[in-house]
Amino acid sequence: MSQVLHHAHDPDPAETGSADTDTDTDTDTDADVISESASAPDRFAVIFDRHAPAVHRYAARRLGPDAADDLVAETFLTAFQRRTVFDPRYATARPWLFGIATHLIARRHRDETRFYRAIARTGIDPAAESVDDQATDRVAAQASRKGLAAALAALNAGERNVLLLSASGFGYTEIAEALAVPVGTVSSRLARARKKVRTALGGVNPIDPEPEGDAGR
């Protein structure tokens, strides 16, 4: 509750608004920073600055940009609260943070489903760049987006978790680490999820085979 414990290098709260300040000039690993944050809590801001943009993108993909704002806040507050249980053998906190975000997102799976259904219905993706950027491929892009969103809406939370972590660039081991499940579970769950999406897409929008650099993008 209180502000009794402070440190000489506390950032001025009045200036904490800028997310990309000079806080991350150090070369410490995430594990080092988190370890230091046990006694110097404000060090945790470095973790935020390093990873919040990526977590936001991930959350925006699954819940929309507005909900992502809150989710990022929740994710980092949770991570901060649990910083003493971060396993220092992992140099990067990325899988850990995405794991927390994923669990928080999964608790809103009805919101997520609604979000995908809205995309499936309208073809408009509030999380993505303006559709005007893609005007040339607009019809095709909307069609594939609709199909994909409909397929995602039909998955359960566990399947979405592995699928969207994978599509966000995580490998099996990292996903296993993020979700605290065995790698084999990730593998089988991902296979099942992919199959469901493939089947759903097959019924909605035959995207492949397709000519390179053409519609479907």
Partner: protein, 361 residues
């Protein structure tokens, strides 16, 4: 192009966020990093999937704090007088028996932008599962906070959530998020985690201070030392925050012990987090004023808050309330409400981590 390629495109289409979007989250985090570490022994507990018992909540409210306050009350002349009257009010509190539950209803900051109302039923002796119901916070700052694993820093009641920096005259309304959870029995926990355990603490003010000195170990930042008086204040503040209803003689001893601390000041008129008028005994440290707030008519303890003093070196606006909790009601209950299985899951976030599969909540 297969389905994974499409999905990768789907993810890659999301642009990086405008830095301004991240500002509130970063500010909330930094505010939280400034928060005082909790004591290690106050209230460790974990959640478990225990069968919900008791069909209805038959709460016997022996004490209701939301009484209307008179406007023309004359505040006591000093903090010492206030604390003495508070001690007198506390000592006559009815006792709770083993097998019963301590009921509290507290409001305070919940999730990042809303206040929360949290009702808890805690087993008097820690041998039975309790229940927590929260409105306005459902996430890790609220109900799930009770799911901290044993051995970790004990969670505070939900109002310990990130304080907003805004100067709040009145609390924001609770969001419509709500959650319930079972609190696993806390038998075997340190004494200060249960009402029954607290009955073993000394009720002589001097002995109580010695006990707190010995058992209360706030972690200080490197190079920083907390004065013994500050640590003692923090211990008492924490116990009041965490339990809500204390054995009367202990609560009286705590207020008498505070009388002995040099530098307790009287704040005759304060407004608490819930917007109620009160009279406070305050402790000042490093540009922050910590207030223990009392009903100005009955001198019952009704809440706490932390106010920024002018010239605060962290740049907070003078007068801002950084944190607050208001005890809306408290009492002794003989049963706990049943918690539907569908919502029990909500609060089991950290068990989900172990189990690996949150199926949705």
């Amino acid at each position: 192009m297969n389905e994974m390629d499409l999905l990768e495109q789907f993810c890659a289409a999301v642009p990086p966020p405008d830095p301004a979007r991240l500002t509130p989250a970063r500010t909330a985090l930094l505010t939280r990093t400034l928060a005082r570490p909790r004591t290690r022994w106050i209230r460790p507990r974990g959640l478990g999937i225990l069968a919900a018992t008791a069909a209805a909540a038959a709460i016997v409210l022996v004490l209701t704090l939301a009484t209307p306050f008179g406007a023309s009350l004359t505040p006591p002349a000093s903090a010492a007088t206030l604390l003495q009257r508070a001690a007198q009010a506390a000592v006559s509190q009815p006792a709770a028996a083993a097998g019963q539950y301590i009921y509290t209803e507290v409001t305070g900051p919940g999730d990042t932008n809303a206040s929360a109302v949290v009702k808890t039923w805690q087993s008097v002796d820690g041998t039975r599962p309790g229940v927590v119901e929260s409105r306005g916070t459902c996430g890790p700052l609220g109900t799930a906070q009770f799911g901290e694993l044993p051995g970790q820093t004990p969670p505070a009641l939900a109002p310990n959530a990130a304080a907003t920096r805004a100067s709040q005259v009145s609390a924001p309304p609770p969001s419509d998020t709500s959650c319930s959870a079972i609190i696993k029995g806390t038998s075997g926990s340190p004494p200060a985690s249960t009402y029954a355990g607290l009955r073993t603490l000394p009720t002589d003010p001097a002995a109580l201070l010695r006990y707190l000195d010995e058992h209360f170990q706030p972690t200080a930042a490197p190079g920083q030392t907390l004065s013994p008086a500050t640590r003692e204040y923090l211990a008492i503040s924490d116990i009041l925050e965490n339990l809500g209803v204390l054995p009367g003689r202990l609560e009286a001893a705590m207020f008498q012990a505070l009388q002995r601390l040099p530098g307790m000041t009287l704040v005759p008129h304060v407004t608490d987090y819930a917007g109620r008028a009160g009279t406070a005994a305050a402790w000042t440290n490093d540009g922050f004023e910590f207030e223990l707030i009392f009903n100005p008519a009955t001198y019952q303890f009704i809440g706490q808050q932390e106010i920024v003093l002018p010239g605060n070196r962290f740049g907070y606006a003078a007068g801002a309330r950084l944190w607050g909790m208001s005890l809306l009601a408290s009492g002794v209950a003989s049963t706990v409400p049943s918690v539907p299985e569908t919502v029990q899951f909500c609060a089991l976030l950290w068990q989900d981590f172990a189990a690996g599969l949150p199926a949705g909540c």
